[in-house]
Subunit: 372 residues, 2 copies
């Protein structure tokens, strides 16, 4: 499986151990560290594929659960796969559907066989996704990177439950691995173990053998304190294979990206930049600002001074504020462009610090400027 | 006033009397017949100015009433005018606010002095717009074409009320005309008279002297049968000045544009193409189609065969349908692009027929293909 993939480490930061790498896929090369914007239903909300690419996105994430329910993976297969359907020719990563089954379905029944759940779309039709089914759907979508079907637990469950879910995730991983064939798709296994260091250790040790060209860290950024997430990353950093990218799922705030890369993470994804954009929040290297604030009413400066995105090159805070307060779609669109670009500018700064062997210094400087 | 404007008739169709013309404004030239997309609040909903221009739009319309309430005309003035605020460098036409005061305000009191009305935005703050105030706002916005402040009546009022509103519109026109100074803005007066041929005649006769480089027909397309609108246009066609463009306000369906040009109309505007786009309706030269229809689920052909817009060049009906049924913003955006382009393609066909002195033949062919 996945012979058309490779990962090369190009540079290791002497100060932090963080890496710059290059992941080659059938749809092109991804330089890490990388932030991946999310196009849940085969569209990064409000943006064209050209806009997503123009801000510097190298890969996007799409959701198996959502595409399975709507328009259905067989429709995407008939369209020639997700790349062709949505007209995005760079790499695509699809999640497994596991997380959404747990977080979005009103009814769900998890057994070793898989998950039965009720659709939130049509009044509750029942569906069943097994590890094999998740891979079958991801194969129909034709993503470059497929994720293993896992069981994610909330940080407030007992250790017993966390361990059971970890075991089930490993059991399912073996089944995913058996059916994830083909050279043009790669399977990323997912480390679970909740907030328990020993479970994380065990999960990392037993998951690593399944990793061919990438491994993911799941079950974090799901409600636990950030410090706890950082502790888990510190546990995992020396244990995870160093010859492949590590993907921290669901993380997209600037502070967590900086802390994550310092702890050996190479890939990130999150709906955060586009979701808060539609709400009027701009991400900047000095912290978030909310354009609804009345003080921007006649502020004719760009959203972020020095930003090179389409929004900042062309429009003022006053105009974006007007659009946002008037519920005009173009406002969310402009801030989505800006926010994704801001995260790509952040990873560019991080890369430069890695090249200069000074990522820990950069982190210090970053947090001196960054206002929470 | 308006010395930086001129209108030249380039060609008159021998078969229909319809014209091709060229209206020169401080922000560029408009070839007529022309459809003007509407950017109510200084944004054509969901689209960038580049997209609006790329589909062939030569001028757009923005709404005085809406911009007065939000963000306020003084904010737009402080931004350097509407062109700069929204980054649209081609001509802009602003309506006078009259129509919206009548159609959108929960409370309104009309006297010869002007209109008092309650804002629908903030729980009912009271505002007053006089003819002079409407022009002052439009001057702050800096539109190329300003519209006279008029009183529009619904087609079900008595003839007495229709006549009173026509008289008031003429009284207000004289006041608008006195304050509409400056060479870089032109005032279009508006013919009223409801659905009464004699009132329309009288209004046309008394309004025409105020028209310098364009005249508008208001109070149609407001609920009366289309046949009645066509009758009124037939009444007006020989009476309106022929050396300037005639603008039929609020009309944007393909059939009405074809019938309008055949009756001497040169300019049209409507929210229709963008409003129905967000609902999933595509305008085509063969009639509207609704992409929500299940039959398009796996239809991988473009929205309109032969259309050269960004949507039709790149995406399938199946993908657009998926976006629309999933409430994804990009779906409405793609159809807005398509629908505006479809209207510009229609006017291009109409122009060609005028050049060939066969517009009445074209109309026949158009209606043979067009399905209501």
């Amino acid at each position: 499986m996945g012979s058309n993939f490779k990962y090369e480490v190009l540079k290791v930061c002497k100060q932090s151990g963080a890496r710059i790498g290059r992941l080659t896929t059938p749809h092109g090369v991804i330089e890490t560290p990388v932030f991946m914007p999310v196009g849940t239903l085969g569209t990064v909300k409000s943006l064209s594929p050209e806009e997503v690419a123009e801000v510097g996105s190298q890969i996007l994430l799409s959701n198996t659960y959502h595409l399975y329910l709507r328009p259905g993976h067989e429709t995407v297969r008939a369209a020639g796969g997700l790349h062709k359907f949505m007209r995005w020719n760079k790499p695509i990563l699809t999640d497994s559907g596991g997380f959404q089954v747990f977080s979005l379905s009103s009814f769900r029944k998890v057994t070793d066989a898989g998950c039965e759940f009720a659709s939130p779309l049509d009044g509750g039709s029942h569906h069943f996704i097994s590890p094999e089914k998740s891979i079958e759907i991801q194969q129909a979508l034709g993503s470059d990177i497929m994720m293993a079907f896992d069981e994610c637990t909330s940080p407030d469950v007992t250790k017993k439950k966390a361990k059971d879910a970890m075991e089930r995730t490993l059991f399912w991983l073996d089944r995913c691995d058996k059916v994830a064939t083909g050279d043009d798709q790669i399977l990323f296994p997912i480390v679970q173990g909740n907030v328990y260091a020993d479970l994380r250790e065990e999960s990392a040790r037993r998951t690593a053998p399944y990793a061919k060209c990438g491994i993911a860290i799941g079950g974090l950024s799901v409600g636990e304190p950030k410090e706890t997430m950082y502790e888990m990353l510190d546990v995992l950093n020396p244990l995870l294979p160093s010859d492949m990218p590590r993907y921290l799922m669901g993380v997209g705030s600037m502070d967590c990206i900086v802390e994550g890369v310092c702890r050996g993470v190479d890939m990130f994804d999150c709906v955060l930049p586009t979701r808060i954009a539609r709400n009027g929040t701009a991400m900047t290297l000095k912290g978030d600002i909310n354009l609804r604030n009345a003080k921007y009413k006649e502020d004719f400066s760009p959203v972020e001074e020095g930003c090179d995105c389409y929004c900042c090159r062309n429009y003022t805070k006053a105009y974006v504020r007007h659009l946002i307060t008037s519920d005009e779609i173009f406002g969310g669109r402009l801030l989505s462009i800006h926010n994704i670009r801001a995260l790509h500018r952040l990873t560019a700064e991080i890369k430069q610090a890695i090249i200069e062997d000074r990522l820990l210094d950069y982190r210090k400087e970053f947090f001196e400027k960054y206002v929470f």
